[in-house]
Structure formats: C-alpha cells, structure tokens
C-alpha cells in the first residue's frame, strides 16, 4: 500500500472525488495555478481545468456564499479557506445559511458543501495562522465538523464529507500536513462521519482528543506502556455533533479520563465532552475528569519561546496521563 502524508491524502481524496462525480469542484484563493498555498490542490487545475478548480477573489464570505448557492443548485463544492483563521468573514454564510438551509425550508432545499481549512499551530504562524476555530461552530445543529488525525482518516473522511448531503467543515491540522505519514489504500473507501475511533485500546486511562493531538497522545501512550500504564485513545474524528456513545463507552471503561485539545480550554470542544461524561457516567469515574489545553490567551504567539509554551506536545500529555493513572 502506498505511504502518503496527510496533505497527499487530502489531494488524493479531492482528485478521486472529482473524477467520480462531475458535480464536485474546488474553489478558493490560490487553489488554481498555484495549487493552493499548502499544495492541497496541486495538479487539479491541470487535470480538471479552470472551471472546476476556481481561483476566487480574496473574499471568504463569497467563497462560502457562492459555494452554498451552487450546492443548493446541485453541485458539490469543496471550498478552501486558505487558513482556518480566515473563515471568520464567512461565519454568517456558514452559520446563518449553510447550517440552516435544510431546516428552514422544511427539507425542500439542502446544502451539500464541504469547507476545508487548515487549522492549528506549531508552524510559526503566530496569532492568525495557528488558531483552532472549531469551537466557534460547534454549537450549530445542521453543521458537521470533521477533524481527522491521520492520512488514512483524511482520505476516507474527506470523501465522505464531499458525498454528505449536508454542510461539513473539514479541518486539517497544518502541522500534520507533512509530519504525518502512513499507508493509505488506493482508490475507494469512506469512513463514517459522526463516529469516533478508538486509536489505541487500554485499561488504565482514557485519553479523548482529536486532530494532531491524537498523534501526540499516541507517542505519550507508547512511552507509558513501558512504564506499565495502559492508555486508551479515543479519536473524536467528528467533533460536532459528538459521538456520545463512544465517549461514554470509553470513559466508563477506564474510569479515568484525560481530555486534550490544542485550543485554549474554556469553551473548547472538550468541555462538551466532559459534560457528556459527567451526565452519563459520573459513577463510573475514579478520578475527576482532567482537561489539558492551551493557555487562555487569544491565540498562539509567534516568538519561539511563546509558541512552544502554547503548543500541545507528548510530554505534557504523558505527565497528565501519569498523574491520572496514579490518582
């Protein structure tokens, strides 16, 4: 099986879906000749032409809004936000429109758009090229938010997102683009949106996380294995709406839960995860639910000292798992 990195998996999913379905097209800033600033759409312009790989003016509300219009018509747009931080001008189109079209029309219209955006830090991107933006959207029924943690998941979930009949925010960790590699099957497969995935089974502590942090958690878990601590890792994959069943199952299993996000803590996705656990499996817990997250600052600073301080890493996770295991 070929080994792909995270961004190659994005590219392969796009290419295959565009080959499969003529309605699928890509739009965004610099996605055409340039192939995207991260090269996610490299080669697509040459293969599918200008009209299906559309360089747009620099205007995110239009990228989302025009995509939404075409999705209502029956196309399958895949809109790229150059950086997740720049999705903010499009919030009105995403929350007021995409998320509500099916509901407000009583199922007469629907909006199968996929919006891709690179999020996350650790790439010297500073405040506006490092943000985790999922929490802004994770309270909007009608939307789905997918945040894959590995190349294999990227391909299967992006294909599923494109085929989904409702709007999907597809958030890719930009630090993962070239960092993470694994075997990815050629051709057809999809993975279910809305389902979490146990990335590692274990019995002492459950780590629930998503995106790049899954990778960090795995590293931590491997080290701890040698010290006799057995860690279960649940990868949320879809952070909205959450897979409650999987969360409850995995939390109840070990009774000790560590929630991890790269986002700042208050109001992040993992708060909701904690709430679900405390609603449904309080009496199965042997320790308080622990949350490990970024500091409560507006976004990740640029200077290396500060960026490092902000970023999640395996060591922080290792220490937190250890504390819990010893609780």
């Amino acid at each position: 099986m070929p080994v792909l990195n995270y961004i190659q998996a994005v590219k392969e999913a796009l290419k295959e879906e565009m080959e499969r379905d003529e309605k699928v097209y890509v739009l965004g800033e610099d996605v055409g000749v340039r192939g995207g600033v991260f090269r996610a759409t490299e080669g697509l312009y040459e293969q599918f032409g200008e009209l299906r790989v559309l360089d747009t003016p620099l205007a995110e509300s239009a990228i989302a809004g025009v995509g939404i219009g075409s999705a209502m018509y029956g196309m399958r747009p895949v809109a790229e936000m150059q950086f997740a931080d720049f999705i903010m001008p499009a919030v009105n189109q995403i929350i007021s429109e995409a998320a509500k079209i099916r509901y407000r029309s009583n199922n007469d219209w629907h909006c199968p758009i996929t919006i891709r955006a690179p999020y996350g830090g650790g790439v010297h991107g500073a405040l506006y090229h490092s943000q985790s933006i999922e929490a802004v959207f994770a309270n909007q029924p009608g939307l789905k938010i997918v945040m894959p943690s590995s190349p294999y998941d990227v391909k299967g979930l992006l294909k599923a997102a494109i085929r989904d009949d409702d709007p999907v925010l597809f958030l890719e960790h930009k630090r993962a683009y070239r960092l993470l590699k694994e075997e990815v099957p050629e051709g057809e497969y999809t993975l279910p949106i809305g389902k979490a995935d146990v990335k590692r089974t274990g019995s002492d502590v459950t780590v629930i996380t998503y995106g790049l942090c899954v990778h960090f958690a795995k590293e931590a878990a491997e080290k701890l294995e040698q010290q006799g601590i057995s860690t279960e890792i649940l990868d949320l994959r879809t952070v909205y709406p959450l897979d409650k069943e999987a969360i409850i199952h995995s939390a109840s299993k070990t009774g000790k839960v560590l929630l991890v996000t790269e986002d700042n803590k208050e109001g992040s996705i993992i708060g909701e995860v904690a709430a679900i656990i405390s609603e449904h499996c309080l009496f199965d817990l042997d320790a308080p639910i622990q949350r490990l997250a970024g500091p409560e600052v507006p976004a990740m600073p640029y200077a290396p000292t500060l960026e490092k301080e902000f970023m999640m890493n395996p060591d922080k996770i290792e220490a937190a798992i250890k504390d819990l295991a010893e609780f």
Binding site: A59, G65, I68, G69, Y73, M75, R104, N106, W109
Partner: protein, 331 residues
Amino acid sequence: MVKSTLNFDKDQETLLSMYKEILLARRIDERMWLLNRAGTIPFVVSCQGQEVQQVAASFALNKEEDYVLPYYRDIGVVLHFGMTTRELFLQAFAKAEDPNSGGRQMPSHFGKKASRIVTGSSPVTTQVPHAVGFALSAKMEQKSFATFVTMGEGSANQGDFHEGLNFAAVHKLPVIFMVENNQYAISVPLSKQVACEKLSDRANGYGMPGITVDGNDPFAVYEAVKEARERALKGEGPTLIEAVSYRLTPHSSDDDDSGYRTKEEVDAAKEKDGLYTFYNQLKEKNILTAEIESEIEEMIKKEINEATEYAENAAYADASTITEHVYGVRR
C-alpha cells in the same frame, strides 16, 4: 437603451396579466394587514409600492427555467414564479402545509424548490452570493438559465453585496442583481445609507453595466431586466439594476413610521404609486375595461377569501416535528 419591447398595441394580454399579478400582490398584502390588525396573524412585511417592479421584472424572466432569490417584500416575484395565493396565506398563518418552511420561518421568507424560488433567511444580502453560486452552476453545467436576485437598497451596503457582485463580474456569470430602492431601511432614509447618486453607480466599480429605472414604470423595469437577461444568456455577464420606488407602509407590522417620516411625504409617494399609474394607463387605452376590472377584482377577492379560510383552518406543524430535517437521512 433601445425602446421598450412591450407596448400597448401588441401586448394587451401580457399587460393585463401583469396588471392582474400586480393587483393580486397588493390585495394579498392588504388582506394580511387586516388579519394582522385583527390579531389573527402576528406579523406582516409588505410589498406595497414595489409590486410593479417585482411583477414587471418577473415577466422579463423565464419562469420555467430561471432561478429567483427574492427578498422578503417580493410577493410579486414569487406569485409570478408559481407560489399560489393559498400558499402565501399558509405561510402567513405559519401552517404545516406552507411550502416555504412548513411554518418554521417568519412570513415572507420565501422558498419553493419546485418553482425555482430559492430559500431565503432573515439576515439581509446573504442571498446575493447564493445567486452568484446558481449562476456559476449554470456556467459550469452549460445550462441556459438566468438567476435573478433582489434586495433592498439598505441591504446593498452589506459586505456580501460587494463580494457577490465582484465575484459575478470577474467570472462573467449570468446573474441579474436588482436593488429595490424604496428609500428607507426601516427608519433610515436613503441619505443616511448611501452617499452616491444612484445605487447603479456601483456597477462600474465591478465592471458590469448598471442602470437605474423608475420602479413604478413597468415598461422601464421590464426592459432593463429583459436586456440584462439577454446579456446573461449570451455570456456577457451580470447586470446591476436599481428600481426606485417608495415603501408605502411602515417597515412591518411591528413598526410605526410616524416618528421618522411625515404623512405628507408618504401621501406624495402614494400619488406616484405604480399600481395606479399603470391602472390609469390601462383604463385610458381601454385595455382594462370596466367589465374586465370587476372580473379581476372579483376573482382576486374570491381567491384571497378562499386562501385565507383554507390557511386559517389548516393545522400547525405538530410539536413533535421540531427535530425533523436538521440533517438529511443517511442514504
């Protein structure tokens, strides 16, 4: 501009149909106010003063092929495109059978896929990029239809106006933008909304043709939209049309306009009400005879009565349906 292709000699039937739709829109609106003032329906937002431009524009479109993205005052547009009087009352009463939203949205949030009326929301101007998306689809799929989108002149100051028009112009898309300038955005008069002379002055800044027409003149509006549609289908790109009229009612049934404009001003505007100018023209030319007139009024009254009664007696959506259609059913 070429002369109007609609004229009193050869298009008597078309003109009469236009008049009927204009009048129907007005009468529906009037009834809704009555129902509102009687406490039967909680909310009305009016088309009054804008019916002529709405219906004339719609006549210049192809209602079997084109897509429309109307805004909340466009009763004239949705009627022409196939929304029935009954359906309009069903939505005013927020009943389950309402095709727009099944009673989920406030009145005048139109949408009906079977008639290519695209679902709209309350936040203004979001429909403008959507219209561009429909037009982009036409270009991608090589389909020969135009997309028509309207908004108020106040709404033309939202960012989505700018982004939508620019996108359409850069990609030369078959879309017609019509600003229905009724001189007010709730209480804010035109002079506090924009400083340009005409809203259509903005077209040049996007590199598309722009034209301002008297929204009370059905011939002028028809012609402008017809030409814009021809340009669109020929691949010549978008057009911006400003139709100037006046909002004859308060902003909505929740508004009281007496604090921000004078009765004199409103009365003066009523003098220019396109419905009556057109009526007088048709009478004068003897296209609208007394007989036809009473026939039309009779028919409209009957239609509205029946629709009101039907809608009033129809059922609300059951509370249990509240969670339906958040997401599609997985196939």
